[in-house]
Structures are given as structure tokens and as C-alpha cells.
């Protein structure tokens, strides 16, 4: 049995699956994955809760499985959130240094960060993250810690991720309905990037694309900071839907065809080849053209990468990607998807690996668990900052408490 204060649980309520990962922080502060639970998701569309009852049931299954594997009682979770309503942008806060000697103090830094987080958003929107980027002292760029420096004006850039409060609360209420606490909510893309990127890759410049069932999240890290984030409410479900429509088969059959014969790039050798689908109802077997199947998939996936590429180009971050593109999510399993990403985005691409964490191999080697593992990693950072959890009341004093009271 583990010490409950050292247990961190990441919960992702995805469109195709619900996944709970249990991590343990050891005495040295190293993170170890000790449990994994998953269940097929039925109550989520495009990353957002569409059926609370079904979603609650799926979460319960995943949590129970994770508890059994890790042999712990799960009381609280770090919850991943996503959806087409999430937006990311960079904001700058300014603070004049008023002390007589012009030395920048801890208080000045706190004030400038507070100013940067003061964002004029619509009332129904909530800031999920305000991630610190670089400081500027009297216009001098690239300062990571200005405390002790001399200057008249300190500025800081933050990357803000925000979304619709009601929609965020739908996911939180689903979890709370199971008598579980939510330690914090984390943008899925950010969690995946935490799981996949090493410090060197964050420094060099990397793009993490998490292709899930209902959404595709992407995060650009460069110079050790989060430069850009985005969400497209398009994912693997759209690929299956396109196949079902184009090949005139059921959604479940389309899903099966995608997994068994799918490819992100059309294989010329399959030109003219067909497969026969048997019919359980005794109707005529159906012929499916493999060329059509792969073309339909290819154009959809190509479009996803093109949309991401356009957004990154517009944000001016495409040229930062010196370490390349790291793919995660179930979509990363599609054959030749890395080649397609390379062709569209013009940088090297590959499947992301969660190398920096130890524990269950079954979880660590799969791109679809990147978000849940990243949540645990996020939780571990959070935990180290706060120190060991002494009581539940302290947990409730987290930033998340504010949004429940809103």
C-alpha cells in the first residue's frame, strides 16, 4: 500500500476512451507509473461531455481498474480538458520597478505576473493556464529570472489557455459526481507535451500533435517555453465518419477498416485492390476499394496537418521546430502518419515516446496514453511546488477552487 499523499492520478475523459493513470512520487521526487485503468468512452463528442450518465459510468470503470492495478484508493485526480472552445494566446504584463535602488524584487516579479494574467475575457470564459514565458527588463529579452537585476520596468510574456467555463465544468462535475476531487484541470495538449518532450527538445523547438478521437491538440515548445497552443475539433472520429460515408459502410465497420487497412498515405501498390466484407445478416457481401479507403483517410489527415501548419505559420512559430514533430494520441498509430506530417509541415516527424518516466511499460510505450501520463507529470510538478499534501483542505485551496465558486 502506498502513502496516499505521494499518489498522483491523471484522468483523461477522451472521445474514444477514458484513461486513468496512477503515478507515485518516491522519496527522491522521481515519478513512477504504478497503475492504469481504461474504459471505452460513450458519453463524449469532440472531447466534450455529451452524456453525463454514460461518461460517469465509463470514468468509474477506468478508476476502478486503475485502483485495482495500483492497489490504492483514488481520492483526487488531475483532469485533462479539451474541446473546440479552448483558445490559446500570448499576453504581456508590465510593472514599473518603484524601489529607490531599482533592484527587482520577488514582489515585483509576482506583480508583473499578476498583471500578465489580468486578461479581458468574456464573462463565461475561464483561464485554465497562464504559463510564464520570458521576462524583459527595460526591453532586454530572454531573462529567465529577473530577481536581483536592476531596471526601471519589468515585463513578462505569458501564454494563456482559456475556455468556456460551463463546458469545463461539465467535465469537472462528471468527476465530482463519483465523489472524486479534481486537483486541477490541465489542457490535454499541454499534458501530452509534458509527457513526450525532454528539456533538450523543449529548448530546440518541438511541436506535439495529439490526434485523439474527437479533437487534435497541438503545442509548440521552443527555447524552453510554451510558444503556442491550439485545438482542432477534428480527430480520428472524423476519419471513421468520412470512411463510413465514402465507402457506404456502418461506423463500426469503418472504424474496423481504418484500423486494419488504414494508412495516412495512399499505397500505389493497392491500386485497384478490393476487400470483401462479409454480411452477418445474410445479405450480399460488400466490396470495398482499398484505394478509396486510403485516399479518404489521406485527404482528411492531410487537411488536419495543413490546418495546424497554417495556424503555426500565422503565429510565426513554424520555423522554431528544430527538434521536429512528435505525434501522440490514437491517431499516431495510423501507418505512415509521420511521413505525411513531414510532407505537409516540412519538418521531421515521429511518434512521441514517454522516456523520462519509469513504471508500467504497457502504458509508457503507447502514444494514446501520453496525455494521462503527462497529467501525472503535471501533478508531480504541482505537488513538488506545494510540498507534501497535508490535508484535503489544502488541496481545495488550489486555483481550481476559484472556478467552482464562480
Amino acid at each position: 500500500m502506498f502513502d496516499p499523499s505521494s499518489i498522483i492520478v491523471g484522468l483523461e475523459i477522451g472521445t474514444s476512451k477514458v484513461c486513468a493513470v496512477v503515478g507515485e512520487l518516491n522519496a527522491e521526487g522521481a515519478l513512477n507509473i504504478v497503475g492504469l485503468g481504461q474504459a471505452r468512452s460513450r458519453g463524449v463528442r469532440k472531447g466534450e461531455i455529451a452524456d453525463v450518465t454514460a461518461a460517469e459510468e465509463d470514468v468509474r470503470h477506468a478508476i476502478v481498474e486503475a485502483e485495482q492495478m495500483a492497489d490504492v484508493e483514488i481520492r483526487s485526480v488531475y483532469l485533462a480538458v479539451t474541446g473546440g472552445h479552448l483558445r490559446g494566446f500570448n499576453n504581456r504584463g508590465v510593472h514599473p520597478v518603484v524601489s529607490a535602488d531599482r533592484e527587482i524584487s520577488e514582489e515585483d516579479v509576482k506583480d508583473v505576473i499578476k498583471n500578465a494574467k489580468t486578461i479581458n475575457l468574456p464573462a463565461q470564459n475561464h483561464v485554465i493556464h497562464a504559463i510564464r514565458q520570458h521576462f524583459f527588463v527595460d526591453g532586454q529579452d530572454g531573462i529567465t529570472n529577473p530577481v536581483g537585476m536592476l531596471g526601471a520596468r519589468v515585463e513578462v510574456d505569458v501564454h494563456v489557455v482559456h475556455g468556456n467555463l460551463n463546458r469545463l465544468q461539465n467535465a469537472i462535475r462528471t468527476v465530482k459526481g463519483l465523489q472524486l476531487e479534481v486537483d486541477d484541470i490541465v489542457f490535454s495538449g499541454l499534458a501530452a507535451s509534458l509527457a513526450l518532450l525532454s528539456n533538450e527538445e523543449k529548448e530546440l523547438g518541438s511541436l506535439v500533435i495529439d490526434i485523439g478521437g474527437g479533437t487534435t491538440e497541438y503545442v509548440v515548445c521552443a527555447n524552453g517555453i510554451i510558444k503556442h497552443t491550439g485545438v482542432l475539433a477534428v480527430g480520428g472520429d472524423h476519419v471513421s465518419n468520412d470512411l463510413a460515408y465514402g465507402l457506404k459502410v456502418s461506423l463500426s465497420r469503418a472504424e474496423q477498416l481504418k484500423i486494419e487497412h488504414g494508412s495516412a498515405l495512399f499505397d500505389e501498390s493497392l491500386k485497384g485492390q478490393t476487400i470483401t466484407l462479409s454480411n452477418e445478416l445474410g445479405l450480399q457481401p460488400k466490396q470495398v476499394n482499398l484505394e478509396h479507403l486510403q485516399r479518404i483517410m489521406s485527404v482528411r489527415l492531410e487537411e488536419i496537418f495543413q490546418l495546424i501548419g497554417q495556424d503555426l505559420e500565422q503565429a510565426g512559430v513554424l520555423d522554431y521546430l528544430r527538434a521536429g514533430v512528435f505525434l501522440a494520441g490514437g491517431g499516431a498509430r495510423i501507418p505512415k502518419i509521420a511521413t505525411l506530417a513531414e510532407q505537409v509541415l516540412g519538418v521531421s516527424a515521429g511518434i512521441g515516446k514517454t522516456n523520462s518516466i519509469s513504471g508500467l511499460r504497457s502504458a509508457l510505450d503507447q502514444p494514446e496514453f501520453a496525455t494521462a501520463i503527462g497529467l501525472v507529470k503535471f501533478g508531480s510538478f504541482h505537488q513538488r511546488k506545494k510540498g507534501p499534501r497535508s490535508s484535503l483542505a489544502e488541496g481545495l485551496r488550489s486555483t481550481l477552487g476559484q472556478i467552482f465558486k464562480r
Partner: protein, 434 residues
């Protein structure tokens, strides 16, 4: 208020058409046409090689002197009138006299096709015929010299012919597989071009039923540009309308219909046997109206008893107007070695519409002498002016077919820059699955 459709009486006399194939590329198409049953007296083959000419049976043959030495000359110095002997010119004049329509087919990359096709077109034009030229452009792999020759020949032919239909051979690559031999590749190109010429032949010699004649469609295309592209498809059976439309969009030059929204003018000609129905014409045109919201669209439909149960669809579309972009005195520069303009003819045929290109690296603006800069600015201001006669607002028809979004029918739509991403991408991009 409904307007009565234009139902013209059947033409009293069939127009007199001549088809002239010049050089190896032209003769290849001509051979295919002879095989397809086009009457031999309408076909004229022009080549410098007796052996090649003797391989064609039942067509008029004109032998011209061998021009192998012309390869060493710069493309701009090749003079078409020098390549054609007086005897050959007289023979062409005699064969074309009395013709209403002359179709010239020539490969632009060769000395013969690129060289004499303009002279042949001029002769036919002077005799009062409408000259429709099919210009075949070389494969990209054939090297810059051949592309230079083609650009020069293309410009000459464009000036001489009434309307130029372009076919870049490079497009043939989408019709063949990895293992296709050279002969198979050229046969595929010949078949495709022959289908275009055959459709033109049938369109010209058909009785008009509704809309405009084919010749009027050609005149209409001339409003924007003297050059345009074509696509042809044929289908039969009960499902012939959707099939013929799908096949047409799958044509290498139609590029899955992605070229249509960007086309300035689109001319659609529908040909069918006596069974061609109004509903079929209507359904066919709906497909084009949906894709040509901003283009000028003109149509014609005609009966041709030879077609039987088949439905033939021929589409002309101009993607980019190049009128006046190269003045005659700049032609020499345009084809000068190393000049970017040398490839202009080819570039203009590339799809300018559809796919979004990645503009990752923006080069710095080129440094230009003040005189050149003034000239460019003048040209720019000229092109920016709205075209007279082009309607600013057009009432469009909403698509009658409602697309199902499958599992996303009841969910919040994912709209990105006005596009509904829940609709299958292959449908939005017009990718044909035939």
C-alpha cells in the same frame, strides 16, 4: 419569371471540319482518331518522316523537309514560315479551303510541332475557318531546352489560332502506373487527346437542342483568354449522369473539379443521343453551378444520333488570363535561355486555384531598376481594375442535395474559416472516388 429556353432549329448543313496532326505527337492522336472512325478525308497528317506518314492509312499526308538542324538554334530564332515549303503551304491551303472549323494538333516541344503549327493555323485562319488548336506540352523531365522550345512554339500558335486548348503531357502521369512503358504512356496521352478532339468533332457536327452552339462556347471562352483547358467524359446506362460528372471531375485536367471554382469562364457542352432528357441536362448543370459560383458559366446541349445511349460531356475552362501579358516584342526575352518566362506557358497551365501551398519562407523582394518597377506597377494597376461586363453580384442556387454529416449531424459544427470540417474532406475537396 421563367424564360423560354432557346430551342434552335437543327442545322441545315453539317459544318466542314478538318483535323491536322503535326509532328509525331499530332500524328499519334490522328492515328487514334482514324482508329475511332473519324472519316479519313477530314484528317491531314504533316510530318518530315516518310516512314511515319506511310504508317497512316486513309488520311491526307503532307511531307515537309527535315528540320533536325533547327535544334541548335535558339527557340526565338526558329521561324515557322521557313520550315514549311511553298508546296506544303499550297497543299494545306487547298485542303482547308471551304472548311468552317480547323483543328490543329501539335506537340510544342518538337521543332516541327512547335515550329510549323503556327503557320498552318495562320493559313487556315486566313481562309476564314475557326482554328482550334490542341497544344501538347512536354513532360517536365524532358529538360529545359525542350520546355523553352515549347514556350516559344506555344506563344506563336496562340497568336495564330483562334482558341488554344492546352494539354501538358505531365498530366498523363496520373493515368498510368509505375510499370507503364513509354509506349503505354504515349498511348494513354493520345487516347485522352483523341477523346477531346472526337468530342469537339461531334459537338461541332451536332444539332443544337438547348443553349449555345459549340462555336459560341468557343467564342465565349475567348472573352477572357485565348487559351483554355478542356476535359471530356462519356458514360452510358441508367446512372449515366452522376457517372459522367464523376468521370469528368476525375479527368487529369479537371483535377477533381478543384480547378472549376477558380476558373474565370466555364463552357459546358452536353451531347447525347435522342434519349437525352431535360432532367439529365438539369442535373448535370446543377453540379457545375454548385462549383462555379464565381465563374461565368455557359452551356449548350445537343443531340447526336451516333451517341446512342451514351452521354458525352465536354467542358472548356480558362483558369488564368494571359492576354497582353507578353507583348510581341517581349517574346524573344520570354524564350531566352535561363529566363523564368521561358516556362511561362507551362506555369499558366498549372492549377492556380485549389491547394494551399505552404509559404514557409518568404524571399526578399527582388531589387529592380526604377524603369522596370514603374512598368510592373503599371501592369499591376491595369490588372487590378475590375473587368467590364463581369457581373459583380450573381444570384446563386443553394445546393439541393443536403450532405449528411453522419455521427456529427447532431453535434455542434466545427467551422473553420467558413468551412464545415465535419463534412468529409474528400467531398469538400471534390476528390472523385471513381
Amino acid at each position: 419569371m421563367n424564360q423560354e429556353p432557346t430551342i434552335a432549329p437543327p442545322t441545315k448543313a453539317s459544318p466542314n471540319v478538318r483535323i491536322i496532326g503535326i509532328g509525331s505527337a499530332g500524328i499519334g492522336v490522328l492515328a487514334q482518331l482514324a482508329q475511332d472512325g473519324i472519316p479519313g478525308d477530314a484528317l491531314i497528317a504533316v510530318h518530315s518522316n516518310t516512314g511515319v506518314l506511310s504508317g497512316l492509312a486513309g488520311v491526307e499526308k503532307i511531307e515537309v523537309p527535315n528540320q533536325a538542324g533547327s535544334w541548335s538554334k535558339p527557340a526565338s530564332e526558329i521561324r515557322s514560315d521557313e520550315l514549311l515549303s511553298k508546296e506544303a503551304l499550297t497543299r494545306i491551303r487547298a485542303l482547308c479551303s471551304g472548311a468552317n472549323f480547323v483543328i490543329v494538333i501539335a506537340g510544342m516541344g518538337g521543332v516541327l510541332g512547335g515550329g510549323i503549327s503556327a503557320s498552318v493555323a495562320s493559313v487556315a485562319h486566313d481562309l476564314g475557318a475557326f482554328v482550334l488548336a490542341f497544344a501538347i506540352l512536354p513532360f517536365d523531365c524532358e529538360g529545359s531546352r525542350r520546355i523553352e522550345m515549347a514556350a516559344a512554339g506555344f506563344n506563336r500558335l496562340k497568336n495564330a489560332a483562334d482558341l488554344l486548348l492546352c494539354y501538358p503531357n505531365q498530366k498523363t502521369l496520373s493515368l498510368i502506373d509505375e510499370k507503364a512503358s513509354l509506349a503505354d504512356t504515349f498511348n494513354a496521352a493520345n487516347r485522352l487527346l483523341a477523346s477531346g478532339v472526337r468530342a469537339t468533332w461531334r459537338a461541332i457536327s451536332s444539332d443544337i437542342a438547348i443553349g449555345h452552339r459549340f462555336s459560341e462556347l468557343c467564342q465565349f471562352m475567348l472573352r477572357d483568354s485565348k487559351e483554355c483547358c478542356f476535359a471530356v467524359a462519356e458514360s452510358a446506362g441508367t446512372n449515366r449522369v452522376p457517372e459522367v460528372v464523376d468521370r469528368l471531375f476525375a479527368h487529369p485536367l479537371a483535377e477533381g473539379a478543384s480547378v472549376l471554382p477558380a476558373a474565370r469562364s466555364v463552357g459546358v457542352y452536353i451531347l447525347g443521343g435522342p434519349s437525352l432528357g431535360m432532367a439529365e441536362v438539369n442535373r448535370t448543370m446543377e453540379q457545375f453551378q454548385a462549383r462555379c459560383e464565381t465563374s461565368s458559366l455557359l452551356m449548350g446541349a445537343a443531340n447526336n444520333s451516333d451517341l446512342g445511349e451514351s452521354l458525352l460531356l465536354a467542358v472548356l475552362f480558362s483558369t488564368e488570363s494571359v492576354e497582353g501579358s507578353i507583348s510581341s516584342d517581349e517574346e524573344a526575352n520570354a524564350s531566352a535561355p535561363g529566363s523564368d518566362r521561358g516556362n511561362l506557358g507551362i506555369q499558366l497551365l498549372e492549377n492556380t486555384s485549389g491547394e494551399k501551398r505552404n509559404s514557409r519562407f518568404l524571399p526578399p523582394p527582388p531589387s529592380l531598376p526604377p524603369e522596370k518597377m514603374r512598368q510592373l506597377l503599371k501592369e499591376q494597376s491595369r490588372t487590378a481594375r475590375p473587368k467590364k461586363g463581369q457581373p459583380r453580384f450573381r444570384q446563386t442556387q443553394l445546393p439541393l442535395e443536403i450532405l449528411s454529416k453522419g455521427r456529427f449531424d447532431k453535434s455542434e459544427p466545427t467551422i473553420h474559416k467558413g468551412e464545415d470540417l465535419d463534412v468529409p474532406t474528400y467531398i469538400r475537396r471534390g476528390v472523385s472516388l471513381n
